[in-house]
Symmetry: C2
DNA sequence: CGTCCTACTTGAACGCAGTGCAAGTCGCTG
DNA sequence: CAGCGACTTGCACTGCGTTCAAGTAGGACG
């Protein structure tokens, strides 16, 4: 084997770096080749296609999120930690959320994460399909929460790529948004309090939503009628005298 | 004016149709021109750019969702209806979810929807930032819930475009996913019960998650009084700053 | 030491997609 | 009828994903 050979891992790592820097639309094979110090087409021998490379990169980053030890903490803490870690990871790699909408991202990395996710909700006392749905609910919320910031990041990067007057264009588009919002009473009110910034969905919203969801899930578990939330003593309802929670049918 | 002139509305409508048929990556100006019976470049006079066209189309569809009358139903019914309508709309136009990750979609259509969304949660009793967060939580969940199905649809359409052996490729990629999943105990168990179909996240999950979230929100209403927020001692994604959102654009 | 095989790299080139441009075309208005 | 302005069109440029035939290099084997 030649000494200075590219490796799949090296390529995937470089792709992740490039994606972090330039966003999903900023990734192209020639730029990647340059970053690797090789011809663009050399990459094809190792990864086959750009789609496949993105799939690879999109799975790799899941390894960055830690899997909490369920033996040393109650499920709610574990769930919060996993969701928060995922949130942070998606913020770091905002291109992943976009990729999630266009590619089937599933590999060892995500599988490892999903598996542990199920473990958390099974430890909570959910059984069978309920554990799946609980996990999916939280997962889905975290994903959706990352979508708008991802769009903002993508937009910003595109402006930066298109020309020098990025500031001006950004300002213009914000101004137009304000103008539209001003025509609706509640949106207008939010404009005044300056709470509505398209680019920055506050982290508070994430924590608020996450805890609300976990509250809702917890309620399904034991019907432990203490709405005073917070307290999450080790639920571990033994074997889930799982009340058949009522689910809205279609 | 010449008699057979294109109009912006006509173009946007054709674009939506094409997007529904072919997906986000299937939309290109020449195909759109053909569908309109005109040259591809004629479109540019009316909409400026493809990005702008997508922004226009992506806002237009929001008008399809109904705004429940808050005077004749309780907030939870209204919230459920709005979320369900949104869910249905996103399923109809799965490209929109992808577009949401790459473009800043905000116009009169979405503004109208958002405004009413806030109205619902204010009617519920949430005040100020809490109403925003409640609305964002549900909205975000619905969006995230549509993401994976959108990816599946996109993937299928791409396969259909690439060549005739779509079935084979689809089968192969599912087989690979199964193989990976089989290495993780909980995923493997789900494989056996045949509950895991990547392309079809059951609608049950949506209803389950939505009701759980509304449960959680409802609980916050009753147990008011503590703005000291959230349990979760750990986590702390970083700045747990005040409710004053920072505005910084990038 | 030479030779071959395999693993890998490269540059040229093809096709498609977004889009700017200059030259139309058509109908209305003066 | 001349001309203007609203629209349309074909051409062509660029950038990107990808293919392909032609390399190159290092180890294995004789």
């Amino acid at each position: 084997m030649p000494r200075d050979t590219l490796t799949r891992e090296q390529i995937v790592k470089a792709a992740i770096d490039l994606l972090d820097d330039e966003g999903l639309e900023g990734l192209n094979m020639r730029a990647l080749g340059k970053r690797l110090g090789s011809a663009a087409t050399a990459v094809y021998w190792h990864v086959g296609s750009k789609d496949n490379l993105i799939t690879l990169a999109g799975d790799e980053v899941w390894h960055q999120i830690a899997l909490p030890d369920l033996a040393t903490m109650d499920w709610r803490t574990a769930a919060t930690q996993m969701a928060t870690d995922l949130h942070a990871m998606l913020t770091r790699h905002s291109w992943l959320v976009q990729a999630f909408g266009s590619y089937m991202i599933f590999g060892p990395g995500k599988a490892r994460h999903d598996d542990h996710g199920y473990a958390v909700y099974e430890a909570a006392g959910f059984t069978g399909a309920q554990a799946d749905q609980a996990a999916a609910t939280v997962f889905t919320f975290v994903l959706g929460n990352a979508l708008v910031p991802a769009a903002a990041a993508s937009f910003t990067k595109k402006l930066g790529r298109d020309g020098g007057n990025a500031e001006a264009l950004m300002h213009e588009s914000m101004a137009k948004a304000h103008e539209i919002a001003a025509q609706f009473p509640r949106l207008r009110a939010r404009l005044d309090t300056a709470a509505t910034d398209y680019a920055a969905t506050p982290d508070n919203t994430f924590q608020f939503g996450l805890q609300a969801i976990l509250d809702g899930l917890e309620a399904q578990l034991g019907a432990h009628s203490t709405p005073s939330d917070l307290a999450s003593p080790s639920a571990a309802g033994g074997d889930a005298s799982a009340e058949h929670a009522r689910i809205g049918d279609v």
